[in-house]
């Protein structure tokens, strides 16, 4: 008898208690909310669509984390700054003057395309600079070294752009033809949100095909698999790494444009929280996996949006929307308890060890 008690792992009991109580609390809250449904169907769909749009942004940014991790096993914490740098520059030098001259309203498609190209160019430029100056000399160093360097690079770019453009919140102009709502399947959805979702889908599918079908994509996958063998096979690993950073930063640039269309406000610190959330999304989906990052982003966006109303309101929590970050990170904890490798992640222990 006493032997059996000894065999029960104390930590295991606590963990079991922890996950059970989390799940019970979530279910309890959900049932209580639904029984006393304070929201109309319209309110629910609006919240879900807002969550999908926000999640799409997370997904696009998360791609950058996942790609770089897949190839270099490094968390590039400066990625949020790639996202910020492009759209900050494009808003200050392009969007605001173009809007004031009326060009943006007269030629919205061309105007947004120009803004998107400039944004991507700046984001990619910053990414390649960071890679060359800060990360490349550290290749082969212990893993902690590039991680700390990345945090340093993140601070550097944040305050570099603060110095360039000031610490004020800067407006991004409202574009007439993107404003307003469109009716899809009986639901009124904001045009900007529709654009976010469609563009994200196209970009994700394009990126996936690029990595899986093309020769360059193959070289990236080879470098991710085993750099030494890839080099022996005649693959230019440094080039593959640069392309990886380029693709990640281009995605972040596009995410920046979409962010500006939806939120119409940019700031030197705007990359920090989306960066952290996208990193969470990448881990949630299984870091290193492209579909995983996309799924993780969507999952996080929707839960953040719906969670406070669905879980917390029923539990009688006051001001539930203030706690949406707690929902997001609780989701991360829950998923990692049951699937430590993330939703679509491959088990690192087997593949990469």
């Amino acid at each position: 008898m006493s032997d059996r008690i000894k065999q029960i792992d104390f930590l295991g009991v606590i963990m079991w208690f922890f996950r059970t109580s989390l799940i019970v609390a979530m279910l309890w809250g959900t049932i209580a909310t639904l029984l006393n449904n304070p929201y109309s169907a319209r309110a629910w769909t609006d919240t879900i669509v807002a969550g999908i749009a926000q999640g799409s942004l997370y997904a696009l940014i998360a791609i950058g984390y996942t790609l770089v991790y897949g190839v270099l096993f490094m968390i590039n914490f400066a990625h949020g700054e790639f996202f910020m740098s492009g759209i900050m520059t494009a808003s200050v030098f392009l969007a605001v003057p173009m809007s004031e001259s009326g060009y943006l309203d007269a030629h919205p498609v061309l105007g947004i395309t120009i803004i998107a190209i400039v944004t991507m160019l700046v984001s990619v430029g910053i990414a390649i600079l960071t890679e060359r100056i800060a990360y490349k000399p550290l290749r082969g160093a212990p893993r902690l070294v590039p991680l700390i360097t990345a945090i340093g690079a993140s601070f550097f770019w944040q305050y570099f752009f603060r110095g360039l453009y000031g610490s004020k919140v800067r407006p991004f102009p409202l574009i007439e033809s993107v404003a307003g709502k469109v009716n899809i399947g009986g639901i009124d959805i904001l045009k900007s949100q529709v654009i976010v979702i469609i563009v994200t889908l196209i970009m994700l599918v394009g990126l996936y095909l690029f990595v899986v079908k093309t020769k360059v994509g193959k070289s990236i996958r080879a470098a991710a698999e085993n750099k030494d063998v890839a080099r022996l096979m005649g693959i230019d690993v440094d080039r593959a790494i640069t392309i990886t950073f380029t693709m990640g930063a281009a995605m972040a640039g596009i995410a920046g444009v979409l962010y500006a269309l939806v939120f119409r406000q940019v700031h030197f610190f705007m990359g920090f929280f989306p960066g952290i959330k996208a990193f969470t999304a990448a881990v949630l989906g299984g870091i290193g996996s492209i579909p995983g990052a996309a799924l993780g982003g969507l999952f996080l966006g929707v839960f953040e949006s719906v969670g406070p109303g669905l879980f917390l309101e029923g539990l009688g929590v006051l001001s539930p929307h203030q706690l949406k970050d707690i929902i997001a990170f609780t989701m991360l904890v829950l998923v990692l308890i049951f699937r430590p490798q993330g939703i679509l992640g491959e088990s690192l222990a087997e593949e990469k060890a």
């Binding site: 304070p38 929201y39 109309s40 319209r42 309110a43 609006d46 919240t47 807002a50 969550g51 926000q54 610490s167 004020k168 919140v169 800067r170 407006p171 409202l174 709502k181 009124d188 904001l190 962010y259 939120f263 119409r264 406000q265 700031h267 610190f269 705007m270 929280f273 953040e304 949006s305 719906v306 406070p308 109303g309 309101e313 006051l318 001001s319 539930p320 929307h321 203030q322 949406k324 970050d325």
Partner: protein, 400 residues
């Protein structure tokens, strides 16, 4: 033994000679909290802890300009020049804590003008009070800061209004002038925004109105649609009051227009969002929005001189609303230094407890913002609140 005695005596003699040579030893400080002594040619030092970075920069820089103008007008105290050490309160608890620690580690600072944000004021008030300093805030308005059961500490004063007055004024305006009966209030967890939203909601209910939703967002949030959808589902209200800061206020304003049920809801914010940066942040969505804030229709001669100096030194009209309050706050500290400072040849000795007693006794003080009289918990303002409306990019006073 005699050798040791000799050594002790010799040391004592040398030390006493050195002290006599400095002259400071003649002044014996009897102040309970200690004294600050300024030697010949040393400037009297003040510190400011205002928000001079981030989205709310306008608010802090405007106040800092007020401090600098007050110091320029004053010129000197008892033959000592004036010097300002400007710190950043970051508009956050962490920023207030850091600025406070930095200031109290400098024993030559006699008083603090700050903070801009109540959220920063709570920790700074604690830090400076423990160290025996005094602070006069030009723009902390949270009721908690002068509530002895909450965040009040000895040595804390303010020339800004208490939000008990501002929240009540907005409730009166909404109920009596706009004639709305169902409202919602949103804050961001900051003591300033939460206190103001709470006073507004309580006052509105006391008038006989209904508060359909009282909720909060996070500082740094960008997607406000879920919380606005919840607000719409609870009413929808005819009027939403969100006394938050520029970044979150910008997102709330723009997104409120896009949420079903809130298209025609009247939006209102508070003095944290009266600045050119806020006008840019709310954009066209903010047209017609209401803002509560201190009455800036000062008619005294001093304010005209102040405005002329402001324009001359900074090349612009005041960019936010608490410059005059900062001017008065600085002058209150400087007049007390003048009043309680002991002039001793070229030296000036100022007792820290004497500073507190002097500020406590402030009564009928004529400043730009009115006649200031401090109560026992440091509320010194002569509060006049107005409501203005954003019309074509300008704040126009519509009430009272």
């Amino acid at each position: 033994m005699s050798k040791r005695l000799f050594a002790v005596l010799a040391t004592l003699m040398v030390v006493s000679m050195m002290l006599t040579a400095c002259g400071a030893a003649e002044y014996e400080c009897t102040d309970a909290l200690g004294c600050v002594s300024y030697g010949p040619g040393e400037p009297v030092r003040l510190a400011s802890a205002l928000v001079i970075s981030g989205p709310n920069t306008d608010l802090g820089v405007d106040s800092q300009n007020g401090v600098e103008i007050a110091m320029a007008f004053k010129g000197e105290v008892a033959g000592h020049a004036l010097e300002l050490q400007a710190e950043d309160d970051g508009c956050s608890a962490e920023g207030g804590q850091a600025a406070g620690q930095k200031i109290v580690s400098d024993p030559t600072i006699i008083g603090i003008v700050g903070t801009s944000c109540s959220g920063a004021g709570v920790p700074l008030s604690q830090v400076m009070s423990d160290a025996g300093y005094v602070m006069v805030s030009p723009s902390n308005t949270s009721p908690a800061l002068t509530n002895p059961d909450s965040a009040w500490n000895p040595g804390y004063y303010r020339t800004a209004h208490n939000d008990k007055v501002q929240g009540k004024a907005m409730a009166d305006f909404a109920f009596d002038v706009l004639g709305v009966t169902e409202v919602a209030a949103i804050h961001d967890g900051d003591p300033y925004t939460e206190g103001l939203a709470r006073v507004f909601a309580d006052s509105f209910e006391a008038l006989g109105g209904t508060v359909v939703e009282f909720t909060a967002v996070n500082k740094g949030d960008t997607d406000m649609r879920p919380v606005l959808t919840a607000v719409a589902a609870a009413g929808p209200p005819e009027f939403i009051y969100y006394p938050v800061f520029t970044a979150e206020g910008g997102f709330l304003t723009k997104q409120a227009k896009e949420v079903a049920g809130l298209e025609d809801t009247i939006l209102a914010a508070a003095d944290g969002m009266i600045s050119p940066a806020a006008v840019e942040a709310v954009g066209e969505a903010g047209e017609g929005m209401y803002f509560s804030g201190p009455d800036l229709g000062f008619t005294n001669e001093l304010y005209n001189d102040f405005l002329a100096k402001y324009l001359e030194d900074y090349g612009t009209e005041p960019i936010s609303v608490f410059h005059a309050h900062a001017f008065d706050a600085t002058n209150m500290i400087l007049s007390c230094v003048e009043e309680v400072g002991v002039v001793d040849g070229d030296f000036l000795h100022v007792g820290r407890q004497a500073m507190r007693d002097c500020l406590d006794a402030t009564s009928g003080y004529d400043g730009i913002t009115g006649t200031l009289t401090c109560n026992e918990y440091g509320d010194c303002a002569d509060p006049q609140i107005t409501v203005s409306q954003l019309t074509a990019g300008d704040y126009e006073v519509v009430w009272p």
